[in-house]
């Protein structure tokens, strides 16, 4: 990491003793009371289902967690000029043989890259290489290129398993806590879902 990133990483892990533990829960933007979406690429660490739709000129990754969605434009367009920062970013993609290659820019710089609290800047560029080595397996190779936060690009990999009989259900971040507050404050504690 660069000094800039080291400082943010330390702040996210102040008091955390075990290097394998998550970052501090009280400053994790995904946890209560912030309840923000995991964002890209942290969405791949959620342990929940993902659904892929292929449509003309686009591929959609629909994530149960959040829920979240990534639109991948495959119609040859370039990135938006100075896209407004977002959780899932601005993503374009193209095919390289049997691999869908995607490039994402325009990510919020206060979201975490993973649950450890690794930071990234708004200059982060994430490349995904999505391929299906066999019928039941999806392999996603990730490349993180962020010169402001990391002295060199680095890679990671995630494997997914096909679940043909599964249905993606609804998952709303922080729903239990939000419900409790709404029930108390608006419904007067007398009624709730």
């Amino acid at each position: 990491m660069t000094p800039w990133a080291e400082e943010r990483y330390k702040a996210a892990r102040q008091g955390v003793m075990d290097p394998l533990d998550q970052g501090r829960e009280d400053v994790d933007p995904m946890l209560y009371p912030y309840c923000m979406p995991p964002g890209m690429p942290r969405i791949h660490l959620r342990g929940q289902a993902m659904e892929i739709i292929q449509a003309p000129g686009r591929v959609y990754l629909l994530f149960e967690a959040g829920p979240s969605m990534m639109r991948i434009h495959t119609d040859g367009r370039k990135h938006l000029n100075n896209p407004p920062p977002s959780f899932m970013g601005d993503t374009i993609g193209w095919w390289d043989g049997d691999t869908l290659v995607t490039e994402t820019i325009g990510l919020h710089d206060w979201a975490w890259l993973d649950s450890a609290g690794h930071p990234h800047s708004s200059a982060l560029r994430v490349e995904q290489r999505i391929r299906r080595p066999n019928h039941e397996t999806l392999e996603i190779g990730l490349l993180f290129d962020d010169p402001k936060a990391y002295t060199r690009p680095w890679t990671a990999k995630r494997n997914y398993r096909l679940r043909p009989d599964w249905e993606v259900l609804e998952y709303l971040i922080c729903e239990d806590t939000v419900r409790e507050n709404y029930t108390q404050e608006v419904l007067g504690g007398s009624e709730g879902p």
Partner: protein
């Protein structure tokens, strides 16, 4: 604190995934039986947000026009039961006109709850995208990036399916130009529209998406909820097809709370 998740195999429920060059999307409009309603649709007259074209050189917006803001256009105002009226009045304290919007403090959305499947079609310039697959139609909303899945494979509503924010939806096509969507099991915290019309968990929503012209989509909703309404009622809204260069942006509900240092649960 928990451990960092690393190296595990995540479950992937794949609706459709194929090798390049082999499209498995429904041949909407290319073969008989599937009306083509795919595309990005937006609402005329709701004061659209400026959009940035892919080249960054132009701002795109939908056209102006009339139309209600928070409500569906109805021929006859919904007739509520005592149960329904009590809940309706509770969120409209102090309001005089039918079209007035309930105060934020009584709106579950201010607590960062989802709008629900039908209110998504009311209020403000919030485009949505329809993508038709062979066995499912996806309604992809800009507002809080919600997804509604409409199962088109002939299944019914399953026994024991939980109540959710968007409900369980099944659909079929009616020739020559209409998608019919049947939705049940919607969380009764949500409102049917932006005016605060309530519904029970037993509500049955029948929505019709009909392409009345190349660039026009007519959305009709029929609400059948004997607990909340003395008889079924219908409402309508029109949507306009956006050009291919129109991009649906990201919207995360309550994001501004984090940006200004507040938490996700604002005080009323």
């Amino acid at each position: 604190m928990g451990k960092i998740v690393s190296g595990f195999v995540l479950a992937l429920a794949v609706s459709i995934f194929s090798l390049p060059g082999v499209s498995q999307t429904a041949n909407a409009g290319e073969s008989k039986g599937i009306p083509d309603i795919s595309g990005v649709w937006d609402r005329p007259g709701a004061g659209n947000l400026a959009r940035i074209s892919p080249t960054g050189s132009e701002a795109l917006s939908s056209s102006g026009g009339g139309g209600g803001y928070s409500n569906f256009i109805v021929d006859e105002r919904p007739s509520m039961t005592a149960w329904g009226k009590e809940r309706y009045d509770a969120v409209r304290v102090g309001l005089k006109d039918y079209d007035d919007q309930p105060p934020d403090a009584l709106d579950h959305e201010r607590y960062c709850y989802p709008r629900g499947p039908t209110r998504m079609f009311t209020g403000g310039a919030w485009p949505f995208e329809i993508r038709q697959m062979s066995d499912v139609v996806f309604l992809l909303f800009e507002r809080d990036h919600w997804v509604r899945r409409v199962h088109m494979d002939g299944r019914g509503h399953p026994e024991g399916y939980p109540v959710t924010w968007m409900g369980h939806a099944i659909g079929k096509y009616e020739q020559p130009d209409t998608l019919v969507v049947d939705t049940v099991l919607v969380n009764d915290i949500t409102w049917i529209d932006g005016l605060g019309h309530p519904h029970s968990e037993d509500a049955h929503f029948l929505e019709r998406f009909r392409r009345v012209g190349h660039d026009q989509l007519e959305y009709t909703i029929r609400v059948d909820d004997p607990k909340a309404y003395t008889k079924p009622w219908t409402g309508k809204r029109m949507f306009e097809l956006m050009p291919k260069s129109f991009e649906i942006m990201e919207h995360v509900i309550c994001e501004e709370n984090l940006e200004i240092g507040a938490t996700r649960n604002p005080q009323p």
